[in-house]
Symmetry: C2
Subunit: 436 residues, 2 copies
């Protein structure tokens, strides 16, 4: 029986999950592969903490190079996270002819081109199923099974922390900051939650999905990224009244040689399957010209689900090694040379319906003035609600618009925000009511 040897860089939570898969499902993996899969080395600076798994003596080292230069190791699992030293180690492993399996979306969103090109040159694979939507096999679905499709759009709920917070706000009517504090206490949110709640993590994942679906390079910095920290329980309540759910959505659409790429709080009709994805679950909806919409859902994070995705990639590379085919699958599903250079459509050209919540001193005529300015900017109103009338006190007025161009909305809001009666900055939430 062939013996395939694996090294693990980074022995944190996910790394521990990976070790558990190797141990718990050792025989099952050998049975499926018809080959033995062995974890021969683990490198982490912390060699003393008890992670609750038993390791053979000598398996764990604090010297990453001992692993990177070990000629026995055929597959390197990178679970260090972040940009450095992950980038340096991954490039070094590639130069040493080792295949890479990683869960590091930040690294690939920022340095993907460098890493994928190096891998192509060295004839090794870079697999990263675990980088997007945790245990949900979305990347290989895009590259392989749905790979004969011309994709027109993708939609994703890609950050479990945000989805958990929005679900709690929705179900319990609580405000963002309260739910965040609780989520931090329960371990669903980091001490510094910026990456998650400001949409950056979601944008990293969207960058990868865009490249995969549309076969293009993507400049991460061009992705419009807005988090959920400005959303209030009131907005979620209004959304419900209008028949919508509020989700942090990653949206990618193809429009000729331009792509739409945006991450922001989004209202979607409450009877859409995406609207039913609650708590820490992740979902991706892919739209192909032949497949139609395909939805994939499951745990988007966590030790076990992420380890499942990592080990799926390890199995895949192991099958390549067994059958002597090197670098069978390009990292982005097509050779680097074939990647297009689509540009991301500027946000001001995006066209959607909008939810606009104005906070005004409620004088007679205010509503007419706001409506007048919206009309002047070619924004037509679908419905309006002004729930509580208390003269002289700040009250919310909510407009749901028909589709409008974002540049017009921005211009109208600039004008409206200048009005004396406006008490605080207007909140704008985009609506997607015709998901492909």
């Amino acid at each position: 029986m062939q013996n395939i040897k694996v090294g693990l860089l980074g022995f944190g939570t996910i790394g521990t999950g990976v070790v558990r898969v190797f141990q718990q499902n050792h025989d099952l993996l050998a049975n499926r592969l018809g080959a033995s899969l062995e974890l021969v080395r683990i490198a982490d600076l912390d060699t003393t903490t008890d992670r609750g798994v038993k390791l053979a003596p000598g398996l764990l080292t604090d010297d990453a190079r001992a692993l990177l230069n070990d000629p026995e190791v055929q597959i390197v699992i990178e679970l260090i996270g972040g940009y450095e030293p992950a980038r340096t180690f991954v490039l070094e492993a590639i130069r040493n002819g080792k295949h890479i399996v990683t869960a590091n979306k930040a690294l690939l969103a920022m340095h993907g081109e460098e890493i994928f090109s190096a891998a192509e040159e060295a004839g090794v694979s870079v697999m990263f199923e675990a980088a997007v939507a945790g245990g949900v096999p979305v990347i290989s679905a895009i590259k392989e099974n749905l790979g004969a499709n011309n994709y027109s759009a993708l939609y994703g709920i890609l950050n479990g922390t945000c989805n958990y917070i929005l679900t709690e706000m929705d179900e319990k009517g609580k405000d963002f900051s309260d739910v965040l504090a609780e989520a931090q206490k329960q371990g669903y949110a980091e001490a510094d939650p910026t990456f998650d709640v400001e949409g950056i993590d979601t944008a990293h994942k969207l960058a990868l999905l865009l490249s995969l679906c549309f076969g293009t390079k993507v400049d991460f910095n061009d992705i419009y990224t807005e988090g959920i920290s400005k959303v209030t329980a009131i907005d979620i309540e209004y959304a419900r009244d209008f028949g919508y759910k509020l989700k942090l959505l990653a949206i990618g659409k193809r429009d000729g040689d331009k792509i739409e790429a945006r991450v922001h709080p989004t209202m979607i009709p409450e009877d859409y399957p995406l609207a039913a994805i609650n708590g820490v679950f992740n979902t991706v909806r892919l739209v192909g010209d032949f497949s139609g919409p395909v939805m994939l859902s499951g745990y988007g994070a966590g030790m076990d689900a992420t380890a499942s995705a990592v080990m799926g990639d390890v199995l895949s590379v192991a099958r390549d090694l067994q059958t002597d085919c090197s670098a069978r699958m390009p990292a982005l599903g097509c050779p680097q040379s074939q990647l297009a250079n689509y540009t991301i459509k500027p946000m001001e050209q995006v066209v959607t319906p909008y939810y606009l919540r104005f906070n005004v001193k409620d004088h007679p005529g205010v509503l007419a003035s706001i409506a007048g300015i919206l009309g002047k900017h070619e924004i037509s109103i679908e419905s309006m609600v002004q729930p509580h009338r208390h003269e002289a006190e700040a009250v919310p007025i909510v407009f749901m618009t028909h589709v409008a161009e974002e540049r017009n909305v921005i211009a109208a809001l600039a004008e409206i925000n200048e009005m004396d009666v406006i008490q605080e900055e207007t909140l704008l939430i985009r609506i997607e009511d015709h998901l492909e």
Copy 2:
């Protein structure tokens, strides 16, 4: 650029879809593969019908052997359907060293072992993503991405016709036979709907999923198979009253070296994601020990979605050919020699809650008698409803039971059906209220 050559056996609806993918996405496929993918021959007995696609002269032949013996053809797509001549042709293609892509669940459920073993011997691949859940990439998810998991259970809505009928019955309160007649008129159901509505098609698909998930041979004939033709609009209404939806579910569970394998109308809690899958959509819920539950949904049938799955397999084999790895992925995800021989648990040992609808002449004491017999057989009642009281007329009495062993339920019903007051055979519907 390498040129990979494909032959198509069977030029019906799905075959036409496949030709359309080849034509419409020709450049895209070449771009992704870095190789050209050419459809070099189509064989079908009917060479005259206009399928609405333009073919190069000489591409279409009525001689399957001309394709099977063409040394140029590397991949054979089998879309004839049924057992023969599909089986003979597939085995012949395998002997000729050609890789197989097929959508033929009936063939594989009945003759899978023969075909997979022949392929293994010849060193070729047999791919069949399109055989289960149409365009939804469930087979490769099981074999590849989630392949490091020990699966404990799978649940599937696998037949679009049945799900369409049940959805219409639910939404419009119509009875089975009326909806079926309409579905036939609209092309959602075959003229002879037996395979679909009696659950046989679903059982074929379950047989394949069981082999894939649990790594075992499965005797198709041992799968308990019950269709939806006995379900009435009243049962769907009662289900709703109790907080359930009625679905034709394929259920597979592992219990040591036994597996549960059953297809039958099933009540599931209405707030479960599976309950929200309506119309012709298909869904599979896979439960792995590390991944947790993963749900995959999309179109389960139709020309385009099925062609998408077929072409995904073609792409996969093309990548193998490009990198010179033959038969990289065993048909069932592990070598044939590693397959276990788990037996299917006899239905009488299955333990679930039950919905029991009795039709009785409503005399005082009937309810007590029925409840007494149930109690004698160790079946405890969770709730009961007897909606319309009309003395001397047949009325339904519905019991929802706690979990009970099916042998006890069968024994109790045999006894109850002997009672004079019973007007027609009692309807039993199984409940799944703790989906893993």
